[in-house]
């Protein structure tokens, strides 16, 4: 089943056009990567796909069960980690019954248990990144869009991240991972490189 696609997407900013006919697709159970140089339009592509940025042309299709871990620091600095996760869980629980076992395991595996009472504004950049990732994943969306998801991770957390993604993939969930550096290329079903505003398939 197709979970996300865009066709001849054109988008940019008043000063310059970033995407000039970009096309890609993500299907059920796939892990798809998008790489490209700094400023090539990776984040703009994601923001267009998810509705945060208005494209100038092209078509977009996206499944509504989607989790998003953006590159920016968007979490509310005056709330605690627990308050964040609980609010997200409560919001998501209306669409589908949450898998509490997965949620517990996610918190444990990302080693967030000791940071639950800490305020977001007091977290290290690595722990902040973990909270963003947990927020995107805790409701087990059909499609997860992750923009530079492993920035600031130590090696153990990096491996834990791929374990979690592997488990989700085995259940048929898909992931679109955006990064300027994609290591472990064997973990991806397909990698697009964003060059000159268009997506070229690498593998």
């Amino acid at each position: 089943m197709l979970l996300c696609s865009c066709d001849r997407l054109v988008a940019g900013y008043p000063s310059r056009e970033v995407l000039r006919g970009c096309s890609l697709e993500v299907r059920e159970g796939e892990t798809v990567g998008v790489s490209g140089e700094n400023g090539s339009g990776k984040s703009t592509l994601v923001r267009c796909l998810l509705g945060f940025h208005r494209p100038r042309g092209g078509t977009i299709f996206i499944h509504p069960s989607v989790g998003y871990c953006p590159q920016e620091r968007y979490l509310h600095t005056r709330l605690t980690v627990e308050e964040h996760l609980r609010l997200t869980l409560t919001i998501q629980a209306r669409n589908r019954t949450p898998d509490i076992g997965f949620f517990q395991a996610l918190v444990e595996r990302l080693r967030l248990s000791s940071s639950l009472t800490a305020r977001i504004g007091h977290l290290s950049s690595g722990t902040y990144q973990k909270v963003k990732l947990a927020t995107a994943l805790l409701h087990m969306p059909m499609l997860t869009v992750l923009d530079e998801p492993t920035d600031g991770f130590d090696w153990t957390t990096y491996l834990a991240f791929w374990d979690i993604m592997g488990e989700l993939k085995a259940r048929g969930h898909a992931a679109l991972i955006i990064s300027h550096l994609l290591y472990d290329r064997q973990r991806f079903d397909r990698i697009y490189e964003l060059k000159g505003g268009v997506c070229e398939t690498l593998s």
């Binding site: 299709f61 509504p64 308050e83 919001i91």
Partner: protein, 271 residues
């Protein structure tokens, strides 16, 4: 951590989180206690007891009321403090956290729940500011109708709260937002409306179109006359309603595209 969703409605949960957020804002708490005391204290100590006339515009007539410079400055100073605190707290509530709640909307939060929770908290704060400002003014100036003065400060708080919120939703830079609300409140309420600092202001049509004009007229009528100024009540309510509509439009303009994904058909997605 309890690993289960909340049983309380989401709007109430957001209201509770907003209350915690307000209590954790140490800078805001410091300003809430210090700004009124410092400003009104300084005015009380330094303002003279000379007499000045204030123009009050009632329907079909204009009254000139003679008051001491100190009393005039105290009431305008209190209005400035109330307007500034309202605008500042609205800015803080709707600027940095806005991106976070935008993501919550993306995750499935209904904008009405977001607005109910945030506006519920903002209304409580504005009521507290208006009540405290009225109480503090009442300690320094004998007020004829404190309840009318409270209404005037509350309407001023709503107008400036909405303006602070609009600045918060359209500006990403906190310093720019903070300076904007401080200068707006200071220019309009504390300077242009106050005849002690800008004598010609009372006779200028332009000054009568500024957002603080009608609430200040309401406050002065309530503080120093026996009459209710219906013109000021309607004028203040019109400005408050217009500011709130603009505020809601500024919020909606940043939420509607994000919301579309969630309202798409579950099987079909968004095209």
């Amino acid at each position: 951590m309890r690993h289960s969703p909340d049983t309380v409605p989401v709007a109430i949960r957001i209201l509770m989180l907003s209350a915690r957020e307000a209590l954790r804002n140490r800078g805001g708490l410091l300003m809430f206690f210090l700004v009124p005391v410092v400003f009104l204290g300084a005015i009380h100590i330094t303002a003279g007891l000379g007499v000045i006339s204030i123009n009050l515009y009632f329907p079909g007539e204009m009254l000139r009321v003679l008051l001491t410079v100190r009393n005039v400055c105290l009431v305008f100073g209190a209005a400035g403090v109330c307007g500034f605190l309202s605008a500042y707290y609205a800015l803080v509530m709707f600027q940095q956290p806005f991106e976070y709640f935008r993501f919550c909307v993306f995750e499935g939060l209904h904008p009405a729940e977001y607005l109910a929770g945030r506006f519920g908290m903002l209304t409580m704060l504005l009521t507290v500011f208006a009540a405290c400002t009225t109480a503090l003014t009442g300690l320094l100036v004998p007020l004829t109708h404190p309840e009318v003065v409270f209404s005037g400060y509350l309407l001023l708080g709503i107008i400036y709260g909405a303006l602070g919120g609009i600045i918060g939703t359209i500006s990403r830079d906190f310093l720019v937002g903070f300076l904007s609300v401080a200068i707006l409140a200071d220019l309009d309420v504390a300077w242009l409306q106050n005849p002690v600092y800008y004598t010609a202001g009372q006779d200028l049509d332009l000054v009568r179109w500024l957002p603080a004009f009608y609430p200040c007229q309401l406050v002065f009528a309530g503080a120093f006359t026996e009459d209710t100024n219906i013109l000021a009540v309607w004028g203040s309510c019109t400005y408050a309603a217009a500011s709130l509509v603009l505020f809601l439009v500024s919020i909606a303009s940043r939420l509607w595209r994000v919301r579309r994904i969630r309202t798409a058909h579950p099987e079909g997605g968004e095209s």
